[in-house]
């Protein structure tokens, strides 16, 4: 950042006497605008299209394929449609809160992008409390959702809002506890620091560092799905039970805001997991060119995140929804104790092997490969048994 500001001042683009503070502020503003407008919002839209296509494939349908190539511009058409719709605010609702709620949810979705580590230098602010910041600002969603549910003055919305509050607050705990093993091993909360402590090869990822981190990664992913209101934890907006949950009374752009935040949160969920456990942007040093290296790193990071986004779509298309008591049981009776065991286990592990155990990484990676092989073998078995026709071409 400082070198960038120095270079900009030296280039004379801001005049001779430009103060470093002013230039730094402008750079941050421009970069934020580029990230929010150029990455975050279109990403949320594109994910909505991608999710519909992925679902369609899983459900043996075609999905949106009319607007643009392969229906790629469907999200723009949907956005325009929602902007054109009437913004209905119920008479009996608490209008100021009702109007404000979607913006809060949007805020909770945009703030984490500030610490999104796209590559070794593509990061808006490498806060020294990066991961803590990320978990705290994403928890702001619950305020917006609860506000929406309460202000709508609709019983279904209220149940949705309360469910959401209970769910997000509960799952914050295992999610937070699952971050600790990584923090224990690296001794830093900074996103870049955590990524730098890992290597590009899978056996150097924290996912395979020891059995405890592997469990922690899984718990974190499931808890993040629960916090993002994704199936099997989509109770706050359970369509078949609560009509549309907290969003029942919303229409037009405000309604879209909730769902943009939901789709965009997929990227954030993926980014947290990729950063903490999957080596983030780590890529082997193939070139000395910094720009090329950064591009390769950004591609690596995005591929990892998109794979996780795809997995969450896949889960959503496959699993049924749990009931609220089962949701709470899962969190308080299983995830919270297991997370504590994980944390203590990692602490003991770090005490025994302060620099990590290299052999364990290879063993766990081999185990993961074996699991993947068993999974693929099962899929092939079921496909053979049901004698289904399988189409591998994704562009139909």
């Amino acid at each position: 950042m400082e070198t960038l500001v120095q270079n900009l001042i030296a280039s004379g683009a801001f005049g001779r006497n430009a103060s470093p503070d002013m230039v730094a502020t402008i750079v941050v503003f421009v970069m934020s605008a580029v990230v929010f407008l150029g990455v975050a919002f279109p990403f949320a839209g594109i994910v909505s299209w991608a999710e519909r296509r992925v679902w369609a494939r899983i459900q043996s349908r075609v999905g949106p394929n009319r607007v643009g190539p392969q229906g790629f511009l469907q999200w723009l058409a949907d956005g325009v449609k929602h902007v054109c719709k009437e913004d209905i605010i119920p008479d009996e609702s608490d209008a100021p809160l009702f109007k404000m709620a979607p913006y809060l949810v949007m805020l909770a979705f945009t703030l984490p992008w500030a610490v999104m580590p796209f590559s070794s230098s593509l990061i808006l602010a490498d806060l020294n409390v990066g991961i803590l910041y990320m978990t705290s600002v994403t928890a702001l969603t619950v305020v917006g959702v609860l506000m929406a549910g309460w202000a709508s003055n609709d019983k279904w919305s209220l149940i949705g809002g309360i469910r959401s509050a209970a769910q997000i607050v509960s799952y914050e705990i295992p999610a937070g506890l699952s971050i600790f093993p990584v923090v224990l091993m690296t001794g830093t909360l900074s996103m870049q620091g955590i990524i730098r402590a890992q290597g590009w090869a899978p056996q150097h990822w924290f996912l395979f560092a020891n059995p405890f981190t592997f469990v922690a990664a899984n718990i974190l992913y499931i808890s993040a799905l629960a916090e993002g209101n994704r199936t099997p934890f989509d109770l706050p907006e359970a369509e078949s039970e609560l009509v549309a949950g907290f969003a029942t009374e919303y229409s037009g752009m405000r309604y879209l805001f909730f769902f943009m935040a939901e789709w965009g949160n997929l990227f954030i969920i993926g980014a947290i997991i990729a950063t903490l456990f999957l080596g983030g942007w780590q890529f082997p040093h193939v070139t000395k060119n910094v720009v090329a290296m950064n591009i390769l790193e950004a591609v690596t990071f995005n591929v990892k995140v998109l794979i996780l986004v795809f997995v969450s779509m896949w889960i959503r298309a496959t699993l049924p929804r749990v009931r609220i008591d089962q949701l709470m049981t899962l969190c308080w009776k299983y995830f919270v104790p297991i997370s504590f065991v994980d944390m203590i286990g990692t602490a003991v592990w770090v005490a025994i092997w302060p620099d990590g155990n290299a052999a364990m990484g290879y063993i766990m990676f081999a185990g993961a490969l074996a699991l993947a092989a068993v999974f693929i073998q099962r899929v092939i078995y079921y496909l053979r048994r049901s004698r289904m026709e399988v189409y591998f071409n994704p562009t139909i």
């Binding site: 099997p232 369509e239 078949s240 749990v322």
Partner: protein, 372 residues
């Protein structure tokens, strides 16, 4: 807990609600997520079909019977046909009876597919529904070839069926059954034995055998409680005595006897049994006419009759009173969904709101059949 004072909330669920399978309405008294009571309110889909029968005559009423239960219209067709035949003492040709069985069993599979698919949808899984509907579409294609319609079939007539099987249809039907049996296994692997799914269904809305009889439950809902009562076996009609098939009953394997999972599994197993019946019927179908000679101006002798048949939703009764004219004096249909609706109020106490959706889906309540 008892010292904590909580306020009850009255929720209005329906008639416009995504999971009420048509226009049903429940008044739910809930304490937070837990229901105290869900009071069903019927009558939103009442179309006076029974009264229409008194105005359109015997032959003319056949298309209206489709609308009694549009998910399994073959059975309502057959019920009306059987009632009129019994009144007038008409013998249906053997081939006609076989055609009826084939059409009806295909319709039973289609109806159960919709039921189990919609149930998965109500639990929150979206994929099984589209897979079930895909298979149902193929059955609809077959039936369309048979009678020209996909939903309201109007296939049967008093004295038999309207059309014989088209050329090449038998082979197509057999090919479909060969495709369907593995698909059923795939469907089970996809959703039926899913851990979350079983957790959601097991122990929810368990009905004891005595309750089931007291509340007049019929069909899969009754059999799920462990009572082996199937009209096709116990009061045989049409060509059913010719076929070998099992009557699946619930055994409480996943939770209590007669819970939602039992009702679900009974439907899945019934589809496999229907497939068996269809294979036998397609193999043994005799030649000959499909429609008995019935006067165009059909005037059964004065009297009354009651017939029973096993529809997709269970024991369906048709009661017809004739006064010797061309119009029935009174028609009454006894349907399974109406009885199933009655037990929801009793079962709902203490369940979660999410379980009410499970309960409605597992009882396979079809709105038009409740109100007629």
């Amino acid at each position: 807990m008892s010292t904590l004072h909580t306020e009850e909330m009255t929720l209005n669920m329906g008639p416009q609600h995504p999971s009420t399978h048509g226009v049903l309405r429940f008044v739910v008294r809930a304490d937070g997520e837990v229901m105290r009571e869900a009071i069903p309110d019927v009558g939103y889909l009442h179309r006076s079909i029974e009264k229409i029968a008194e105005k359109v005559g015997y032959h003319g009423f056949m298309p209206y019977t489709d609308r009694v239960d549009y998910v399994c219209a073959m059975f309502t067709n057959q019920g009306w046909g059987m009632a009129c035949e019994k009144l007038a003492g008409i013998e249906v040709p053997r081939r006609g009876e076989y055609c009826r069985v084939i059409a009806a069993e295909f319709n039973r599979i289609a109806s159960h597919l919709l039921s189990v698919g919609a149930m998965a949808m109500d639990i929150g899984a979206v994929t099984p529904f589209t897979h079930a509907i895909r298979e149902r579409e193929m059955i609809n294609d077959l039936i369309e070839e048979l009678c020209g319609a996909r939903l309201t079939f109007n296939y049967m007539r008093i004295g038999g069926v309207a059309w014989d099987l088209p050329p090449g249809w038998r082979e197509k039907a057999l090919a479909y059954l060969d495709h369907f049996d593995p698909i059923l296994e795939e469907y089970n692997a996809l959703i039926s034995w899913n851990k979350i799914y079983i957790e959601r269904l097991a122990n929810v809305g368990a009905i004891t055998p005595a309750e089931a009889i007291n509340y007049n439950l019929v069909g899969p809902n009754l059999r799920a409680c462990g009572i082996k009562w199937d009209i096709r076996k116990d009061i045989p009609y049409s060509a059913y005595p010719d076929f070998e098939f099992e009557v699946p009953i619930g055994d409480g394997h996943w939770g209590k006897l007669g819970d939602s999972m039992d009702r679900y599994v009974v439907r899945i197993r019934e589809m496999a049994e229907s497939s068996k019946i269809l294979r036998q019927a397609l193999a043994k179908i005799p030649g000959g006419p499909v429609l008995a000679k019935v006067a165009r101006n059909f005037k059964p002798p004065a009297g009354e009759c009651q017939i029973r048949l096993e529809s997709g939703r269970g024991d369906m009764g048709w009661y017809v009173v004739s006064d010797g004219t061309g119009y029935p004096w009174r028609v009454h249909v006894r349907t399974g969904s109406f009885a199933a609706m009655g037990i929801i109020q009793k079962l709902s106490a203490g369940l979660m709101i999410a379980d009410l959706v499970t309960l409605i889906a597992s009882l396979d309540v079809i709105a038009p059949e409740i109100d007629r």
